[in-house]
């Protein structure tokens, strides 16, 4: 397997990596939003995604609802979970050291994982929806992945517009800039926090809809892509959504190309090692300004 720029398999790998980057970018959005505004890392973020994936599966396969309705349901479940998570678990300890908030959501990680095992058992569930694939020359790209990629681009744009162009978005940005002063300006932080958590949960739900198209669902799926999501967010600069977006594509290429030249695990090892090195080179994230 030598390097060749005309190798169609190499190009296929690169484009697959690009599409995978879209999924990662979408995954990182909710986590980044929540961190940027509330200054909390949801270690259980991937588990919220996992529960939302199960919801989509349950609505579609068990209840027989149309796929789009089931997906809307999944997004709703994500939003509700995010709200509950903030209200029940994070709100009581907002005044304690931030690391406690990170750890408390670690407890939620086990809780959700156990709950999923209890309710849905450890069997693999699959949505059983195939959208076919598109072929370009010798290369094949499944529509599922293309849909995930396009959705993530649209969502990033929508979130950006929401934050920049709406009153509520401005309030959210203001709170994330100065927690002390904004309450004096008539913004109720408690409400903004709840709203942000609901939005973060809904974004997790949206990511779940697309992941459910791509992967089998099982209780440990959160552990498999959770760490990756954190790395993407930190590499982009925690709370920096655009940075996370760029980082997602960098990571995806490492994994895709690493998997192409060696094995999938090596792709991950290289990506994580790259992450650790980058943390020392640019601890503020690839796009962040050093403060």
């Amino acid at each position: 397997m030598e390097f060749s720029i005309t190798d169609p398999f190499l190009w296929e790998t690169v484009i697959q990596g690009l599409l995978f980057g879209g999924v990662l970018a979408l995954l990182s959005l909710g986590l980044n939003l929540v961190f940027g505004v509330i200054d909390v890392v949801w270690i259980c973020y991937a588990e919220v995604v996992m529960i939302a994936m199960y919801s989509v599966w349950w609505f579609h396969v068990v209840l027989g609802l149309p796929l789009l309705v089931a997906m809307a349901g999944g997004i709703g479940v994500g939003a509700v979970l995010g709200t509950i998570l903030h209200y029940v678990v994070i709100r009581p300890i907002l005044d304690t050291p931030p690391i406690n908030q990170l750890l408390v959501t670690g407890g939620v990680l086990f809780f959700l994982q156990g709950a999923a095992t209890l309710v849905f058992s450890v069997d693999f569930r699959t949505l059983g929806v195939s959208l076919g694939s598109v072929s370009v020359g010798d290369m094949f790209f499944p529509w599922n992945r293309i849909a995930a990629f396009v959705t993530s681009l649209v969502t990033v744009a929508a979130i950006w517009l929401f934050l920049k162009r709406t009153y509520l978005g401005a309030a959210i940005r203001a709170i994330s800039m100065d927690r002390e002063v904004m309450p004096l300006m008539g913004v109720n932080p408690a409400r903004i926090y709840l709203l942000t958590s609901a939005l973060g949960g809904a974004l997790a739900g949206l990511a779940a809809c697309l992941l459910a198209l791509l992967y089998d669902i099982h209780p440990a799926i959160g552990l498999s892509f959770g760490p990756l999501t954190f790395m993407v967010c930190v590499l982009g600069g925690l709370g920096n959504m655009f940075g996370g977006f760029v980082a997602a594509f960098i990571f995806a290429q490492f994994i895709a190309l690493g998997g192409y030249y060696t094995e999938v695990e090596w792709g991950y090892v290289i990506a994580f090692a790259f992450f650790i090195v980058m943390m020392f080179v640019r601890p503020q994230g690839i796009l962040g300004a050093r403060n």
């Binding site: 961190f35 890392v41 270690i43 678990v89 009581p92 300890i93 304690t96 050291p97 931030p98 690391i99 406690n100 990170l102 750890l103 408390v104 670690g106 407890g107 939620v108 990680l109 086990f110 809780f111 959700l112 994982q113 156990g114 709950a115 999923a116 095992t117 209890l118 309710v119 058992s121 450890v122 209780p219 552990l223 959770g226 760490p227 954190f230 790395m231 930190v234 925690l238 094995e263 695990e265 090596w266 991950y268 090892v269 994580f272 090692a273 992450f275 650790i276 943390m279 020392f280 601890p283």
Partner: protein
């Protein structure tokens, strides 16, 4: 009021009590639980050596994994005794800890970032073990070649003992050394420097605290303890796999247990091991065989409750109560 002598007496009584555990244990299962508590208690104590100063490492899974796998690989592949394997693994874990720690401390990576960087380290360790499956056995795990059996009850060279009672005393000794190390750090000048640095790093540095250096010292101690614990775990269980000795799950477990018990007390992390193992085992006994997942669910809920209502841990909360009753002063100065 508990005086210093009474305190020492209590400790000695506790220790003597522990010496009799193998005679009192009704069966091997009870003894196994006791050994697990002490072994993990040792690892948790090691974590709290650095964790109590705000250095919340989620990467200790990597050190435990290095300890378990390096020793087992050297033994299985090259026949090198754990007596050599353990120092090698410990040295390697310390080097990895310093390599990650130095840039982190130098560039002031703290809080969330430190937790997430170290989490990446734990995942790298797990993925490396999986990726090197030709040597390590991958996700299926690996069994250290056993030399003990019906004919050979004890192999000192391989650190393998068929008797759980022997294991209990070995682990008890290691655990005691762990407590002594914890106390030594607690009594050292480093402690004041680290506490100052965890409050206000610039001010501490300005006062002449060599922040990076003392952080590296506790990191090295902590990593070494985790590696030794991991190595012993492998030799005791005679089975290790990447999920049980490395990765995010085990790292979180280490942090939780130390916090649940109370990382600011010498005995706290061990109490954390006691609580978490008793909780996991009793939940498994009650629900495990019929209802999968309920035990993990309750475990998670308990952790959430612990962190919300008892952030100083069980021992911390109890000690706080005693101190207040003794001195009739508030534990903390009133806010200005």
């Amino acid at each position: 009021m508990i005086g210093a002598n009474a305190n020492l007496g209590l400790k000695l009584a506790g220790l003597v009590g522990l010496l009799f555990v193998p005679f009192l244990a009704s069966d091997d299962y009870v003894l196994h639980i006791a050994i697990s508590m002490l072994l993990w208690g040792f690892i948790y104590t090691g974590w709290s050596v650095m964790g109590r100063f705000g250095l919340t490492s989620l990467g200790h899974g990597a050190f435990v994994g290095i300890g378990a796998y390096v020793v087992t690989m050297l033994w299985n592949q090259a026949g090198i005794s754990p007596w050599i394997g353990i120092p090698v693994a410990t040295l390697l874990a310390v080097m990895v800890g310093l390599a990650i720690g130095y840039p982190c401390f130098r560039y002031r990576i703290t809080g969330h970032y430190f937790a997430l960087v170290t989490l990446a380290l734990a995942e790298v360790a797990r993925l490396l073990i999986v990726a090197l499956r030709d040597v390590t056995g991958g996700s299926l795990g690996v069994t250290p070649d056993a030399v003990v059996g019906p004919d050979v009850p004890v192999s000192l060279a391989a650190i393998q003992f068929s008797s759980k009672a022997v294991w209990f005393y070995v682990v008890l000794g290691v655990w005691l050394v762990g407590l002594i190390v914890w106390r030594a750090v607690d009594r050292s000048m480093m402690r004041y420097g680290l506490e100052a640095a965890s409050e206000e790093e610039d001010a501490a540095a300005a006062l002449g605290v060599r922040v990076t250096r003392i952080k590296l010292v506790v990191t090295a101690i902590s990593a070494a303890m985790a590696a030794v614990g991991g190595a012993l775990y492998g030799q005791y269980q005679l089975y290790i796999n990447p999920e049980t000795v490395s990765g995010i799950a085990i790292s979180l477990q280490i942090v939780f247990a130390a916090i649940a018990g109370g990382m600011h007390n010498q005995i706290g992390p061990t109490v954390g091991a006691f609580i978490t193992i008793m909780l996991a085992e009793s939940l498994r006994q009650i629900f495990g065989n019929q209802v999968h997942g309920l035990d993990v669910m309750i475990y998670g809920a308990m952790l959430v409750l612990f962190i919300i209502y008892m952030p100083r841990g069980v021992v911390g909360a109890l000690a706080g109560r005693f101190v207040r009753r003794e001195r009739h002063v508030p534990a903390r100065p009133a806010p200005a």
